[in-house]
């Protein structure tokens, strides 16, 4: 059952590879995305039984991750049809195939309970994204691809060493050797302390660099800046969440052992550092896509801070994981449209997007308000829940610094976004064929509507799912 789920997008990938026509091929994306989404919804509602050895199981954390990725991917798939229509000259065979393979790998991340398998799937997501970042085939994008590939590969290799250490700690402690999550959580307290400690450090560094936590985020601005908008959306929403899920699996083991408090403190420190980096670099960005990368660094920072606080903040952390993924989707897709309309990413050239591309400009502005935590959008709810939990738990300093960074980042981002959306259109601007059409506007619009709805009303099943997931992390149920 679960296997069929991983194989489905691969079939799509094979089909996309086989279709010779550049235009027809793009329709494979929404077709398989919708199939995958329906399948996901079904599996989330009717929890399938675990696979025989317990390697694959869809638990609450996995479900949350899967839902998020399936929704985001579907939106991006519909957008891709419109987007690739504008770029008909560019061969999209690699893009379509790699996107679907990546979907398959992301699904595998969500259902893996064996940490070795999880690692393989995560590495596969990294590799399939590399050709996508290079879609524009110019000097800048090859540079971004190289940095991304090298830093993420090295990061993930370090995570593998961490996993080996974890497995070895079971041998030294004379337990049955296993990398199954359930066994590790059960025996966490009895694992050999020295090896376990080393394992957690390596895993945090490894998955942290894939997530883009400061100071391991250096590849992010380049990759996000050079990748096409829809790839950026999947990087910032999908891949970040996959890396985060891997980190959460480690968090589960750490929470069950005596190292929980230390692990949380390190996460808290890295989270605040990420927000600080974002606050500093966001303000003077002359490239609005790179600015979004720093926003991504900020939000993985927020999630890390919430994980570091633990207990009551876990609900906020998981809710923010969903909200961040959806909002990043709108930001990158609308940003991609504006980029096409001006054929530039520089804030010197791109001004007055609200008049040139009214829909994309408005969406970009709305998503900016949402991501910086303005009510009534969903990220406000999760950020508020994290801050209030920080104060309730008696860490007013953390809460205070958190709020300060949010304020600085709001101002920094506004300084870039407001002129881009509302400024005067420069006179000597080049003509471009792109104008907002339903194909490129409706997908992000739907996503934006979802963010608004989630901000006003969190459906009970979703709330229950997040509570269950927080329970897995040792939070209040």
């Amino acid at each position: 059952m679960l296997w069929a789920f991983v194989i489905l997008p691969l079939l799509g990938a094979a089909l996309a590879w086989g279709i010779p026509d550049n235009r027809k091929r793009t329709f494979v994306l929404p077709l398989f995305a919708v199939l995958h989404l329906v399948f996901s919804l079904y599996l989330v509602a009717e929890t399938p039984p675990a696979s025989p050895h317990g390697w694959f199981l869809l638990d609450a954390l996995g479900k949350l991750n899967l839902l998020c990725n399936a929704v985001l991917f579907t939106v991006c798939a519909f957008y891709a049809v419109g987007y690739l229509n504008y770029r008909r000259k560019r061969n999209n065979r690699t893009l379509c195939t790699a996107l679907l393979i990546c979907l398959s790998a992301m699904t595998l991340v969500a259902i893996s309970q064996h940490l070795g398998m999880l690692w393989i799937a995560l590495e596969a997501t990294t590799l399939t994204m590399a050709p996508l970042i290079y879609f524009n085939r110019n000097a800048r994008s090859i540079e971004a691809t190289w940095k991304y590939l090298l830093i993420c590969s090295v990061g993930i290799a370090i995570a593998l060493l961490g996993l080996f250490f974890l497995a070895y700690s079971t041998i030294v402690a004379k337990q049955e050797i296993s990398l199954l999550l359930s066994a590790l959580v059960r025996d966490a307290a009895r694992l050999h302390a020295g090896w376990r400690h080393a394992a957690f450090i390596f895993l945090l560094v490894g998955f942290g660099s894939k997530m883009g936590l400061a100071p391991l985020h250096t590849w992010k601005p380049d990759a996000y800046g050079e990748a096409p908008g829809l790839v950026g959306a999947l990087l910032a929403g999908g891949l970040v969440n996959c890396a985060l899920l891997s980190l959460l699996r480690v968090y589960q083991v750490a929470a069950a052992s005596t190292e929980g408090p230390l692990f949380r403190e390190v996460l808290l420190g890295m989270g605040l550092l990420s927000m600080a980096f974002a606050a500093v670099f966001m303000a003077r960005q002359s490239d609005f896509k790179r600015m979004l990368a720093y926003s991504s660094v900020e939000h993985v920072g927020i999630i890390a801070v919430a994980l570091g606080l633990g207990r009551g903040a876990l609900f906020g952390a998981l809710l923010h994981m969903v909200n961040n993924a959806l909002t990043k989707g709108v930001l990158f897709l609308s940003c991609g449209n504006i980029h096409r309309a001006y054929n530039s990413k520089s804030t010197q050239v791109v001004r007055g997007a609200l008049r040139r591309t009214p829909w994309s400009g408005a969406l970009f502005l709305a998503a900016f308000l949402a991501i910086t935590g303005s009510p009534p959008f969903a990220p406000f709810v999760s950020e508020f829940s994290i801050v209030s939990s920080a104060f309730l738990q008696g860490s007013p300093w953390t809460g205070g610094i958190f709020l300060l960074f949010l304020a600085i980042i709001f101002i920094g981002m506004a300084l870039t976004v407001i002129p881009v959306v509302l400024g005067e259109i420069p006179e000597d601007i080049a003509k471009t064929p792109y104008r907002d059409t339903i194909h490129t506007v409706l997908p992000p619009l739907v996503l934006m509507a979802a963010i608004l709805v989630l901000g006003l009303w969190l459906p009970d099943p979703l709330q229950e799912l997040i509570r269950q997931a927080a329970g897995l992390l040792g939070g209040e149920r």
């Binding site: 064996h114 070795g116 398998m117 690692w119 393989i120 590495e123 596969a124 590799l127 590399a130 050709p131 290079y134 085939r137 110019n138 000097a139 800048r140 090859i142 540079e143 971004a144 691809t145 190289w146 940095k147 590939l149 090298l150 590969s153 090295v154 290799a157 593998l160 060493l161 080996f164 250490f165 497995a167 070895y168 041998i171 030294v172 050797i177 296993s178 990398l179 050999h192 020295g194 090896w195 080393a198 601005p221 380049d222 800046g225 050079e226 670099f281």
Partner: protein, 213 residues
């Protein structure tokens, strides 16, 4: 058997120095490949024979000893470069640093207790030293191909440690990890080709358009 295992691990360490101290890319690739073959032979010496083990041995030798060196060799021929040029960290300082890292690896490994059956083997220090040498090359060299060689060295270091677990790792995980590595190197090879076409050199220090001012 123990002495043969240790001798092979020492050979592994010596190959690290060979890679760290040379500017010739072809030679580095062959050294890393030789290391890959050693990595393939080692599990056969440590663990009792099973079919699973035989598959691991064949898999590692095929991927690390044959396929990956072929990929990189091809990339080198296509890009028409033979040597690393003006590395950030010179060869002599690299060798000295490599020696320091190796010594530190032995000190660090002392602190980590081993399971009784692995007591007295060089696996852990060899693993950490190889890993550190990989990092040294990743950071100290300019050419993209050198960086791939550094990455491979780092991977080899991790694999040395993984050999202690060779019995316990499910075959599917082993196969998946090797496949990921293979595809990773393949993708890197393609990117290298594009870099050399785009910049007509493989100097990664020219990849600096995206720097933060």
């Amino acid at each position: 058997m123990t002495s043969l295992t240790d001798q092979l691990l020492v050979l592994c360490l010596l190959l690290n120095f060979a890679v760290v101290g040379t500017s010739r890319l072809g030679f580095s690739v062959r050294a890393v490949a030789a290391q890959g073959v050693i990595l393939g032979v080692l599990p056969a010496l440590v663990h009792p024979f099973t079919l699973h083990l035989a598959a691991i041995v064949v898999g590692i030798i095929a991927v690390k000893g044959v396929a990956i060196p072929l990929f990189i060799g091809k990339a080198i021929r296509k890009a028409e470069i033979q040597r690393e040029f003006e590395p950030f960290i010179g060869y002599i300082p690299s060798l000295v640093l490599g020696a320091i890292f190796t010594a530190l690896a032995f000190v660090f490994a002392e602190k980590l207790p081993l399971a009784p059956e692995h007591e007295g083997l060089l696996f852990v220090p060899a693993s950490i030293a190889t890993l550190m040498c990989g990092f040294l090359i990743l950071m100290g060299r300019r050419k993209a191909i050198s960086q791939v060689i550094g990455y491979l060295l780092l991977e080899n270091g991790i694999f040395v440690f993984g050999l202690l677990l060779a019995e316990a790792m499910p075959a599917m995980v082993e196969a998946g990890a090797l496949l990921d590595l293979l595809v990773g190197i393949f993708v890197m090879g393609i990117v290298i080709n594009h870099i050399s076409r785009e910049f007509s050199s493989l100097d990664t220090s020219r990849l600096s358009a995206l720097r933060e001012d």
